[in-house]
């Protein structure tokens, strides 16, 4: 009997826990608990979806659990094109494109840089490499509030403050601890003899990275890429401080739009805008499930 092949695809090997019992009250209680828990986790997503398809009159009935009478997509259109922040109306689409412009280069650069630095720290280990690694890892645990003000001053001095390149650079810098850690640990598992063999064959510093190590890094590039992409997309603090008026990412624009409203609150539009903001990382999560899980556990179990 090929019982449940899906379990084998899980994060680890299949559980070797206790034998499943026959149908007993305990099993029913178990499933009841799981069902209630699932409801708790799904509820907010369901409420957002349902409300975003309702008309404003229907929203005012205050029955958040009820399904919409009709599928009214006008709230979605309004959220995308004409949602208003105090002073101007351009829809959440402006923030969406800003987030794309920030997230794509930041992710690409930070992942490649992390791989490169991880490679150096793992294989070449120049003098002081361990000290450098310790500083970087430690910095990763320290909240941004400790760094942010002096960095603002430095960026202002360099004319980078409030620019697109500035916010990308900030993301790359503050991603270093995570990416370096991920790749250094990944490379630590690759036999050092392979590196030595390449050196004996005469391959140089860059060639070993490009032609030997990077091609072997596929899985970690995907894991780190997804982790960085969702992390940078979901960032609020750095975008708020460094992006500048012209480049505000979607999360910041969403908060401005929703929390600073004058006149009547259009809940259906707000929920559509919130869903649009959550859509990209959620899509990354649902499509890449296993890789995403690998990323957050690898990022969590540091060192």
């Amino acid at each position: 009997m090929t019982a449940r092949p899906r379990a084998a695809r899980g994060i680890t090997r299949e559980a070797e826990g206790p034998r499943p019992f026959r149908v007993e009250p305990g099993r029913i209680g178990l499933y009841l608990f799981l069902a209630v828990a699932a409801a708790f986790f799904i509820l907010p997503l369901y409420v957002m979806l349902a409300t975003s398809f309702k008309s404003l009159d229907e929203v005012r009935l205050a029955q958040i659990f009820a399904l919409p009478h009709t599928l009214d997509i006008s709230a979605w259109i309004a959220a995308w094109t004409s949602d208003c922040e105090p002073g101007q109306c351009f829809g959440i689409s402006a923030g969406f494109w800003n987030s794309v412009k920030i997230t794509v280069p930041s992710t690409a650069i930070s992942v490649l840089l992390g791989a490169f630095v991880g490679y150096i720290l793992s294989f070449w280990r120049p003098k002081g490499a361990d000290t450098l690694f310790a500083i970087i890892v430690l910095a990763g645990f320290i909240p941004l509030q400790v760094f942010v003000y002096p960095v603002v001053r430095a960026f202002a001095w360099l004319n980078l403050y409030g620019t697109l390149s500035g916010i990308v650079l900030v993301h790359v810098i503050f991603s270093l601890p995570l990416t370096v850690l991920l790749f250094r640990n990944y490379y630590a598992a690759i036999p050092h003899d392979l590196f030595q063999a390449a050196r004996i064959d005469g391959a140089g510093f860059l060639r070993i990275f490009w032609s030997l190590m990077l091609p072997m890094t596929g899985p970690m590039l995907v894991v780190a890429g997804i982790l960085q992409f969702t992390g940078i997309w979901n960032d609020f603090l750095l975008g708020l401080v460094f992006a500048g008026r012209e480049n505000l990412p979607m999360t910041v624009q969403l908060n401005n739009t929703v929390n600073v409203t004058f006149g009547e609150v259009r809940y259906n539009v707000n929920m559509a805008a919130t869903l649009l903001t959550a859509a990209v990382p959620l899509a990354a999560y649902f499509v890449s499930g296993r890789w995403f899980v690998r990323g957050i556990t690898a990022g969590a179990v540091k060192g």
């Binding site: 899906r6 379990a7 899980g10 680890t12 826990g17 206790p18 608990f33 799981l34 828990a37 907010p44 409420v47 009935l61 205050a62 029955q63 958040i64 490169f116 630095v117 150096i120 070449w124 280990r125 120049p126 003098k127 500083i135 970087i136 430690l138 910095a139 320290i142 909240p143 509030q145 400790v146 760094f147 942010v148 003000y149 002096p150 001053r153 430095a154 810098i173 050092h192 003899d193 997309w233 979901n234 609020f236 603090l237 999360t251 969403l254 908060n255 929703v258 809940y267 919130t274 903001t277 959550a278 990382p281 959620l282 999560y285 899980v293 957050i296 556990t297 969590a300 179990v301 060192g303």
Partner: protein, 301 residues
């Protein structure tokens, strides 16, 4: 001939690697160590609107701990440490233990429990703000079903608002705890379960006396992560309550940001940030050190 991995060729052959690493050194020393140092330095100066070099000693720290808003934010951090961290650990453990009992739809359920981890704190904050809006959210809906006296308006009152934040945090954070503990559960030796069964130990006793002690490292990792999460919590508060009502849901991370960029009180902000830096180091340095020791022989990282 085999060279020992860690010795390799002489150091001077490494100059391309050392050269490539020099910008990273610059970032680490200037942007990590340097900025943190400058923050600590500023906390001892008379800086308010703009940084100045006039030295005032511990004045900002003394003032800081006399500021109601700061003390509230510290107290709130304590409350979240109990409610949110403990809540995530308990719920995360229950979910992990349940999923580990060979249930159907395990992958689907895991996906459901973990998806909040993929959304922004801003999204989480806004959703729960709406759900807890007494006029439109859960309260209004349940009252509409006929339970007229039902109230769920925690975000509206000073005494309860921080617990509303804890619930929103629990919604987002329990999944990660579950994944970490599930990985721990799957790593437990099969023979432990068998031994417990052969001995006729009841299931709940097996969990409490055998399984939980085995999970200690995973629980410690999760607890550290959750605590770090609280120290950083800023966007969730901004989106959900903006610190209110009054200053009932202020947290240190938000206090510092407000003082840096809105209230123009650099002295107070950098003093707060320095307190934060010291507290985080006090937790993380021993954790990293113990972990390095446990790996045995390797240099601490």
């Amino acid at each position: 001939m085999k060279t020992s991995p860690r010795n390799g060729p002489p150091r001077f052959r490494h100059w391309p690697a050392a050269l490539a690493l020099s910008p990273v050194w610059a970032i680490a020393l200037l942007l990590f160590v340097g900025t943190a140092g400058y923050t600590v330095y500023l906390s001892f100066t008379a800086s308010r609107m703009m940084p100045v070099n006039e030295f005032v000693g511990f004045e900002h720290y003394i003032k800081l701990f006399g500021t109601r808003r700061w003390n509230t934010s510290l107290a709130n951090m304590g409350i979240l440490c109990v409610t949110y961290v403990l809540g995530c650990l308990v719920l995360g453990f229950l979910l992990a233990a349940a999923l580990d009992r060979k249930v159907r739809f395990e992958n689907t359920l895991r996906t459901i429990f973990l998806y909040p981890q993929a959304v922004s704190f801003v999204v989480t904050g806004l959703v729960w703000q709406w759900l807890m809006n007494p006029g439109l959210g859960i309260q209004a809906a349940v009252q509409g079903w006929g339970w007229e006296s039902f109230t769920f308006d925690w975000t509206q009152h000073r005494g309860t608002a921080i617990y509303a934040v804890a619930i929103a945090g629990l919604w987002q954070g329990a999944g990660l705890t579950m994944i970490l503990l599930l990985a721990g559960l799957r790593g437990i030796d099969h023979s432990l379960w068998q031994a417990a069964r052969v001995e006729g130990i009841p299931l709940w006793r097996t969990y409490v006396s055998v399984i939980l002690p085995e999970l200690t490292p995973a629980i410690a990792t999760a607890a550290t992560l959750l605590f770090m999460g609280i120290v950083r919590t800023y966007d969730l508060i901004v989106a959900m309550t903006n610190g209110g009502p009054g200053s009932a849901t202020e947290l240190p991370a938000k206090f510092i940001m407000d003082n840096l960029f809105d209230r123009m009180n650099i002295g107070a902000a950098t003093a707060g940030a320095s307190v934060m830096l010291i507290s985080v180091m006090a937790v993380i340095v021993p954790v990293l050190y113990i972990r390095a020791l446990r790996k045995g022989g390797r240099k601490p990282v």
